[in-house]
């Protein structure tokens, strides 16, 4: 019940295209859903996050879509750029605890 399932494992997108990464969770107690971006040799960095009281959040080219009834959330990267090539992790935080559960990551490659 504490798993977060992320797909796809890897993704190749042409420059200017839309990158979509999906996550699904099981535990309805989760109340915070961040996406992290990680470049090779670096630690993950927060990209964008959402709470269950909204269905969508947009920051620049990055959008989180959240479907509470389906227990799914996704990251959309519009106008994908080669500089977006990185590994992306979704996560879910458990209400009342201090723990994050991370997805397994998606390696994104944007072709120039």
């Amino acid at each position: 019940q504490q798993q977060v399932k992320q797909s796809p494992q890897s993704l190749i997108v042409q420059k200017g295209g839309i990158s979509i990464i999906n996550c699904a969770y099981e535990n309805t107690a989760f109340d915070y859903f961040p996406w992290y971006q990680q470049f090779p040799g670096k630690g993950p960095a927060l990209l964008i996050a959402i709470r269950p009281d909204v269905s969508e959040k947009k920051e620049g080219r990055f959008t989180i879509s959240f479907n509470k009834s389906a227990k799914q959330f996704s990251l959309h990267i519009m106008d994908s750029q080669p500089g977006d090539s990185a590994t992306y992790f979704c996560a879910a935080a458990l209400s009342g605890t201090y723990k994050y559960i991370f997805g397994t990551g998606t390696r994104l490659k944007v072709l120039a």
């Binding site: 915070y32 670096k42 630690g43 201090y98």
Partner: protein, 112 residues
């Protein structure tokens, strides 16, 4: 601010050796975390701390120990290194007011 710093960046250990991975943050964050990252497996929580003197186990604590004597430092101790502990280790911290975790650059550990 340096943020979250980790030392060393790389280390090779022999089976049975011990070592301490250092983590320091200068943001006065109460909460600190240790994760390990294995290829294709995402980030797994090893231990976390909600303040000086308070620590708790995460998903994969076996083979590790932690201490938190100050707000700034959260070292991770490996007592008897095993090949299964070959991984990249990340330290992270956050305040009590937000859910955003800030990650260090990581320590790549190889046990031979």
């Amino acid at each position: 601010n340096a943020g979250v710093t980790q030392t060393p960046k790389f280390r090779i250990l022999k089976i049975g050796q011990s070592m301490t991975l250092q983590c320091t943050q200068d943001m006065n964050h109460n909460y600190m975390y240790w994760y390990r990252q294995d290829p294709g497996m995402g980030l797994k929580l090893i231990y976390y701390s909600v303040g000086a003197g308070i620590t708790d186990k995460g998903e994969v604590p076996n083979g590790y120990n932690v201490s938190r004597s100050t707000t700034e430092d959260f070292p991770l101790r490996l007592e008897l290194a095993a090949p299964s502990q070959t991984s990249v280790y990340f330290c992270a911290s956050r305040t009590g007011n937000t859910d955003t975790q800030y990650f260090g650059p990581g320590t790549r550990l190889t046990v031979l």
